[in-house]
């Protein structure tokens, strides 16, 4: 019990501490691929600390919702990220929320983010919120279809049980899982506002979505929202890693040595994930906004196809 509690606590702190590093790593790799020096790896931490120390400049007509939203967004994302197995399965609170609930928690975070974008009453905030909900209206059902696929394969929507099943030898190669992986990567790209759906580095362009919503935020509020989106990136990378590359995950009864090894494996997986993301991002161009629905519609169809295959035959 104590050990479990400690592991759950460690997981909560681990995701919080690693999230900026992951973003830093992606930025560094991207810069190196473009033959730039790039910011130091630890730059995201410095940014966060600096932002937190600064005073908040609040728009005159911002309401209480605008001030509360960053905390809600951060809390929902953090709770969701703490429930995804990183280096050990069987987290103490894994039964609190299954994968559907984790997706819905991210949905709650987005709901408040989109509202915050509308709060000050500027056209940039509106454009961001409006496009964000359009993207979400396709990304979320696609994600749910992926969850359906995994749940039907593993016979559970519980993430720990799912991972436990996927790491076992019963799985084998399955068409449905392949489709789900492709769809999940597409959704992850859209959800984390990465190229080609959105550009995390852009500013002052009509093409931006996520950055437009948070344009009015400053100081600690901006730091929290930034941290939340870094956590979300970590969550998705961990999710893909634990579902589709579950090797090296420690089982609940693992000893300290096994835990250390699995922690190391997890870090390696994160590094590989960020490298692949950076390579992908540098090799494609950003899409027009109204190409995004086609992109995500494809993900939705892949998810639906995978689910259908499993309805037809449990072994596909």
């Amino acid at each position: 019990m104590i050990v479990n509690l400690a592991v759950q606590g460690a997981q909560m702190m681990l995701v919080l501490l690693l999230a900026p590093l992951l973003t830093g790593l992606v930025r560094k790799v991207k810069a190196r691929l473009l033959r730039r020096q790039g910011p130091p790896l630890l730059q995201p931490y410095r940014d966060l600390i600096r932002l937190m120390r600064k005073e908040v400049v609040l728009a005159e007509n911002a309401s209480w919702l605008f001030r509360v939203a960053p905390y809600i967004i951060f809390a929902a994302t953090w709770v969701a990220a703490s429930l995804v197995p990183t280096f050990r399965t069987g987290l103490l609170f894994s039964w609190t929320a299954d994968l559907i609930a984790i997706i819905a928690l991210l949905g709650s975070a987005r709901f408040f983010l989109a509202l915050a974008g509308l709060d000050v009453g500027t056209s940039f905030g509106g454009i961001g919120s409006s496009r964000e909900v359009m993207i979400a209206s396709l990304a979320e059902p696609a994600m749910l279809m992926i969850v359906f696929t995994l749940a039907l394969v593993a016979g559970s929507t519980q993430l720990s049980t799912m991972v436990g099943f996927l790491v076992s030898s019963e799985v084998g190669l399955r068409v449905s899982l392949g489709l789900a992986l492709i769809a999940l990567i597409m959704v992850a790209i859209a959800e984390n506002a990465r190229i080609p759906v959105d550009n995390p580095a852009t500013h002052l362009e009509l093409t931006m979505v996520h950055e437009a919503m948070v344009l009015e935020y400053s100081g600690r509020h901006l730091a929290l929202i930034g941290l939340a989106s870094e956590l979300k990136l970590l969550l998705y990378v961990s999710l893909i890693a634990c579902l589709f590359a579950p090797w090296g995950l420690a089982s609940p009864d693992a000893d300290a040595k096994a835990l250390a090894i699995s922690l190391f494996t997890y870090l390696v997986k994160l590094a590989i994930g960020s490298f692949l993301l950076a390579v992908f991002e540098t090799s494609v161009a950003k899409m027009r906004v109204f190409r995004v629905p086609e992109f995500l519609g494809a993900a939705l169809m892949l998810g639906l196809l995978a689910t259908l295959l499993l309805f037809v035959s449990g072994s596909l």
Binding site: L58, A75, S82, L105, T122
Partner: protein, 669 residues
Amino acid sequence: MSLATILAVVVGLLAFAVVGVLIGRTQAARVIVYGGSLVACSFAAVVAGSHLLSAAETATLTLPLGLPWLGAHFRLDALSAFFLLVIEFGGAAASLYALGYGRHEETPERVLPFYPAFLAGMTLVPLADDAFTFLFSWEFMSLTSWALVMAHHHARANLQAGYVYLVMASLGTLALLLAFGLLAGPDGGYAFATIRASHPSVMITALVLGLALVGAGSKAGLVPLHAWLPLAHPAAPTQVSALMSGVMTKVAVYGFVRIVFDLLGPPDWWWGLVVLPVAGVTCVMGVLYALMQHDLKRLLAYHTVENIGIIFIGLGLALAFEAYGMAWAAALAFTAALLHVFNHSLFKSLLFFGSGAVLTATGERDMEHLGGLIHPMPLTAFVFLVGSVAISALPPLNGFVSEWLTFQAILQSPQLPSWALKFLVPAVGALLALSAALAAACFVKAFGVTFLGRPRSRAAERAHETDGFSLSAMFLLSGLCLIAGILPGFFIDALGPVSHGMVGASMPPQSSVPYLSIVPLAESRSSYNGLLVFLFMVFSATLAAVAIHRLASDKLRRAPAWDCGYPGLGPATQYTASSFAQPIRRVFGTLLFQAREHVEMPAPGDMRPARLKVELRDPVWDTFYAPVTRAVAVAADRLNVMQSLTIRRYLTLVFAALVALLLVLAIWP
């Protein structure tokens, strides 16, 4: 005992209706009628609730009313008790709200007599135990609600709404009348007990299922029979809109459940095949219609259509599972549907109350003229936000729980042996997922455009917080949304006897699960703990807030909005309801609603403003209603000749008709 008590409450409500007729214009009448309805409904809610929770015996009562050879049969079982609880609680909340809101009513004499009568009609429907009493109460409910829709009959749109409502209500009742006629058979056994004992043929069951789907579905708002709903619900005074959307649609769901799950006997495998596609389409169409609206009350009414779809998905799955003897899965799907009935009655009433508060504060229902109401109306904004989060199915509030259960039920369906269902259910699941995501978009729009941003009109600038009665009703409902969201186990357990009575099994008891989680099947398969999710979120948010304020900075300065360096632009530059929905309109609406945008850009130097006109067509109206309307018009034109014949010709016609009928009788085998 409890049955007689609730019937006494009905009599009491009718007495308040008489009071409304007699002294409807006075100030005292408002307090008497709404206060009385509040007391009566709360009392009935307590009685129905205790009947449900104590799992009391089914009570029956026959009164010498109605058809002389039949009498009026009443029965109170777990299903009736649950729906009565929903109805009476909704009625109590609406009455509490109306104590304050009714003050702004310009023609109270048109509302006060019908309001308690409407409540009485809705109370009688779940109690009825024979076809005559059922149809009488159903019609009574329809007509009183029609009278309430027509309360503000000076507005042209309301007249049209009332007309469409009347036509559709007649159609629905006709379908139910035929359904009961078929069920009763040639012997005319109209008592439900007789119908239950009979075994109708496959042909009859198919017809009755279709008729029940039309009859109850038109009242509930299943696409394509929903056309009257978004017209009529917003036209009524707000407390009635809330009742119609939050409660009356549930009475319709009750009608469907009673006929299909109870009276029609054990289901066939294809019943689910009929219900599920209708339900899935209803879900997505309802929310897409809602997204295209900029009238706040109409948006909410369309959104009811979506939620009815979710409820019917649960019911359709329950039918399919029951047909294949998967009682545990049927119980899961059925409980999910009923829990959504309860949840939707909470948050839809809440949201309508909020829209009524906005209406009294600003005189506006059009979101394009609202905005920034969170500043003058912080409390209303807060409860509307709670309702929005709940209806968008976001944790930790209650809407999520019932949708989560529905998803869990869908995940059990690969075990269904039927191939048609194997292909249909994943598609319905995708539609449900799509509608859940679109619902969140819809309520970001509804809340964001109405309450956030800057006021778009003088009326919105001068808004003020609403009265105490309205606020207490809204806070009561939002509190329940939270409680039902974080402690769903108790609510699921209360539904146990209902599910047991209808599908022959109930979900495993939830309140004994450790830490108040809900575990529909087994913990290794799925579990959700709303309480812990809520506590974790509160804990993390507080931790972050305290840590940052203590350790880093808590300074704050107000300044003009940044807006990318273009400050000082007027409120007209904000996103409006239409522009907010534009991307979704473009993605989904181009095909479905044939959405077209016409830009009228004056030449340079021309001082006229540029205009953007959006044109939407309603596919359901175009395909289903317009042809019928045209056919009726053509037929009326043709038959017009018959209006002015000579007496000799009329006599010939009568004679010919008589001969024709006699011939038919003679030839009939």
